[in-house]
Every structure is written in structure tokens, then in C-alpha cells.
Symmetry: C2
Subunit: 361 residues, 2 copies
Amino acid sequence: MARVMNFNAGPAALPLAALERAQRELVDLEGTGMSVIEHSHRGKAYDAVHKQALSLVRELLAVPDSHEILLLQGGASQQFAWIPMNLLGEGKSADYVITGSWSKKAFSEAKNVGQARAAATTEKDGKFPRIPAQSELELDSKAAYVHITSNNTIAGTQWHEFPDTGSVPLVADMSSDIMWKPIDVSKFGIIYAGAQKNLGPRGIAVVIVRKDLIEGGRKDIPKIFQYRTHADKQSLYHTPPTFSVYLLRNVLDVVKQGGGLAAMEKHNRQKAELLYKAIDGRPDFYRSPVDKASRSMMNVVFNLPTPELEAEFVAEAQKKGMVGLKGHRSVGGIRASIYNAAQLSWIDALVEFMNDFKKGS
Amino acid sequence: MARVMNFNAGPAALPLAALERAQRELVDLEGTGMSVIEHSHRGKAYDAVHKQALSLVRELLAVPDSHEILLLQGGASQQFAWIPMNLLGEGKSADYVITGSWSKKAFSEAKNVGQARAAATTEKDGKFPRIPAQSELELDSKAAYVHITSNNTIAGTQWHEFPDTGSVPLVADMSSDIMWKPIDVSKFGIIYAGAQKNLGPRGIAVVIVRKDLIEGGRKDIPKIFQYRTHADKQSLYHTPPTFSVYLLRNVLDVVKQGGGLAAMEKHNRQKAELLYKAIDGRPDFYRSPVDKASRSMMNVVFNLPTPELEAEFVAEAQKKGMVGLKGHRSVGGIRASIYNAAQLSWIDALVEFMNDFKKGS
């Protein structure tokens, strides 16, 4: 079968070139006579892959020397626990800005570890239609950190201007929009992201931590959960998920060849604008549940007049090779996830289908 | 280049058929038009893979209904922390049997979490030449559990008869010998294994836990580290490392097609006997540092008269397509790791080389 147009929310579409490279090399990495999966993580062949993955993250995001890049296991969900374990000292509290299901989960796990409070929430009738304004944030100037979710896959919202947290470290879960455009990493205490959207495969998290936060982190927690353990060993303290690191390297190499994050931003804005224009152009039929200023460039969510029409839309789209358009089970509707690897031609096809579907109904 | 004879200690050789299946399907899983890596973990295609992986573990190891099978991230090193976090209640202590570097690491991490004591150690002059006898174990009848490392990759030793711990749950790190032969799972409280030796790729751990230990586990730790969280959701609480699960499935399918664990035991014993015979047949040149009764069927370690000869041995073997024979950096010498996927023909080639190398020296 031909490759489909994959609008999955994550795990999601990957650049075909990154996958094809992996396919070519899967039983023999660069003439070594074995798969990258079979190589020792202490050997030269894997070491080159590991270092290249780290340096591509540093180069593409322009990560300053003040920050360490870690490749960790367990996804963003484990970081929900690692962050308070490392950063919440005795008597300290952390601020969480609640903008959707994932920030709620991060907040809940922080409360299992120590003291945490909600600095703001945009929940309204069980939904999260927007990102809060700076003026809405009730920040504790003594907080250990402020936590945000930069893009909300289920609600379809995204922070377009990051909050000012003064001297309190800003911690951001960027699982669903890291590398969608260039950002100023120096403004963050921690950036973390499960790789399975913009970066590569499931099974690895990229965690960028300011060095003073590593050094000042708690030492009375298990060694495996201390950031310093992994920083001290270049993320080789224990066997890394070698194939995931390899595929991360392949994906980032494609991003670099394509012009880096500036080119990526242009590509992503173009895709999102086409889709939002298609929605806004037919307000009698398509409706965005999200405040305009908070719209996500990664997850475009919208509704049709009835759930029945939405189900028909998803089924008809699938027949045309567009998959993964069903909204998250908790909110329904339609969701087109258009991460870095989603191609412009897919958006053109989707917009055309949206126009046709409306005419036929 | 032709595939090499891979004696790596882990990550290690995988069955070629499992890799070739992954290669064929890498950009299109079973006509779905996308890679397994791009499939949603909530979709039908991945769900079938996930369930098949779990049922193959259950079938091959004959895991009884009393035990849950979990697929977790972070490898055995994270389980060093998870086990005491879950099982060590207030005022409880755990017993650790120390037979090498890995059990020392597990013991050390347990002491970061709570109370733990060494029930025995076979350390002698910095090495671990044997497994202790039952009579040497100073077991605490009130311990929360007794922890052993079933096979010691660095020392080259293996438990051939598991200890009797009475009513205290026996917990075993089987990372380097799980599925080398059939075992009676009902005798264990927890069996855990990083997959990268006998099971598949790095990036996933198989953890088999008795259900009463899950139910009685601590609830005052982060939710993500509680076994019940993952047991309640069939290891789909958060996005699983989908490609690792897929490759685990491929490897276990090859094991099943090859006759299961009874056939695997015969195959593994034959390989190990050939190698130990080659060592014992030339006691003036090759020397095993391990007590005969404790010899590992997975990692055959031996010495030559001098470190210089050992270095030459490794270099000459590499020229003949045999890689990964250098002993662990902490002990030196030669190590041939001959996990399930190591082929009999490789052992024949290695034995022939051992005979030739001696003649030439």
C-alpha cells in the first residue's frame, strides 16, 4: 500500500527519509556487519550516533552552554515525577499553570512528590479553550519553578508568548511542539519533550536542564532519577535506548538538511494557516472551539454541526488516505495533528476534502 | 559487509529473522501505509502487536495467572529503584545477595530508598568467582523480599539452583538470562529483565510481578512508579516504547517457532559446553576464573597467560569476523557472550580459533 497521510496526534508521522535510512541500515549499520540495535553502547559506532544526536539538538535549538542536554527514558510522564523530585526541596512549593489534560497530570504528580499549587487555570465547562494572559498568573515569587505545557494536543492551544516568571525558573513540557520553530532556550530552567511527535520515535525524552538546577538538585532521591547522574555521564550512565537515539539522530538530520528551525517555522505556519482559513471560511459548517490568539500550529481541532457528521467526515477522509483525524476521546470533534513531518501536500488534500465534504452534505 | 559473529555482552546479537521482519515492515506495517513507529498506541494495528508481545511472554515462560506481566521503560537500572519504592514499607528491610557489580548497584539503590542489608556476598579480592550456597545465606525471615541477580555478565557466573527464601518473596534480576531455559515462575515474587540480551532491543524492561505484591505496594510514591498504575492499564498507562515492544514480539515469535524454551535450553547448553570444553582442554593456556558449579551458560569468561596475549586474541578474532570478545573493563580477560541468538556455528568458529591461536603462539 502507498504511504498514508498520517494526522495522528502521537506517536505521529516521521520524515520518510529518516525511516528509509533506518530501513537500509537495519541489519548492517555502515558496514559494521550488525544492526545499531546490536551494537554495544560503549563502542565507536554507537558512540558516534549518540554524540551526533546530542550535537544536533544543541545546534538546531541553539542550546547555550549554560544548559545540559539529556536523553532519558520514560517519556514526559516520568518527567512529571523527576522534575519535582529533583527541584522541590524541603519547604519549597512549585507553581503549575493548568491549560489542559497534560498540565493537570503534571500538577497531580507533583502533588504526589511535594508541595504544588495552581497559578492559573483556563478550564471552563470541562474544556480549555485558551492560554492565560500574563496578568492572570498568580505567581509565587518564592516558588521552586513555574511549570507550563507549551502546546496542548487535546485542547488545540499553544503558548505564543512565554510567561515572564522573573527569577523563578520556567519549566516547559514541549512534548508536542519542540522544534516547531526557533526559541530562546536561555529563558527556560528546564525544557522537556517525549520524542514521539516532532523528534522521532517513542521511547526517549529530550530534557534540557540549566546546569545550576542540576547542581542544586536533591541528592536524597534514587540515583537513577537525579539529573546529575545522567549529566555526568553524557546520558550513558546506563544503557541508553540505542535505536531511539539513532532514529532521533536521523530525524534531526533531516530537519537540518531542510534548513533548520527557521525553515520549519515557515513550513508549519503555512500549513496551519491553510487549515484555519478553511475552517474560518465556512463558519456555518466548521467551528473552532479555541480562542483565536491561542490556536495551536501543531494540533488543529474543529467541530462539525453534529457528532454524526464528524464520524462521517473521519470515515470518508480515511477512504482518501487521510488517517488519525478523530478528535481525542475526551473532547470529540476533529483533530488534524500537523507536526513537523506532516507535508504541505497533505494539508492541500485535507482542505480540498473539507470543501468537498461540505458541498456534499 | 557480511553479518559478523557478535559476542557483545549487551546490547547483543538478535535473531536475523526478527530484524529482517522489522526491516521489511519499517515504512509500512502490514499494508497500513505507515511504520509501526508512526501508529497510534491506541489503534488496532499496534494493539495487536502489544497483546501478542504480552501473550508470547506468558506462553514461553508459562507465567501463571497469579502474576502480571508489565512492559516498562528505563531498563533494569530503573527497577533497582522501583522495587524498593514499591515493596519497602515503613519499618521494613530487604535482603540482597551480592554476586557481582550489578547486584551491588541494585543494593546501593535500595539503600537510597530504604533499609536493605547484604544477606551474603561472594566477593573475594575484588572479584566474584561463584554463587553462594544456600547455607551461606543469612536470611531475615521478616524481610520484605530477597534480591538476587540470576546471571552475572561481568563475573561469568549464574544461579543454577535458585535459593529457598521460605515465605519471603524472591526477586530476581534476570536481565542477562531470562528465557535461556524454562523456569518455574510461581517461585518468584518479581522477575525483571532489561530486554537487550535475550529478549530484543534496548528501551524496554519485562517485569513479572505477583499480583498480591502489586496490590500491597506503596501508594505514597509517584503514580508513574507504582506497579499498579501499569498493571491496571495493560502497560498502556502512558505511550509505550512501541518499536521496542514490536521488536520484542518479533524476537519472541522466532523463539516460539524454534521450539520454545526447552529447545532454547538444549541449544544454549550445547554452545556453553563446547566453549568450556575448549577452555578446560588446555589448562596451560586458557583458564576460567569461575568455580565450575557456578559457570554461566550466557557469558563465558576466561583468561590467557598474559594481558598482551588477550589483546592479541581479541584483535585476531576480530579479523575473522568475531567481535565483542573483550572482557569487561573492570576485570579484563576474554568474554564470549552467547545469548539465545548466538549461533552454534559461531561457537564452532570460536573454538577452532582458540585451538589455532594456541598453536600459533
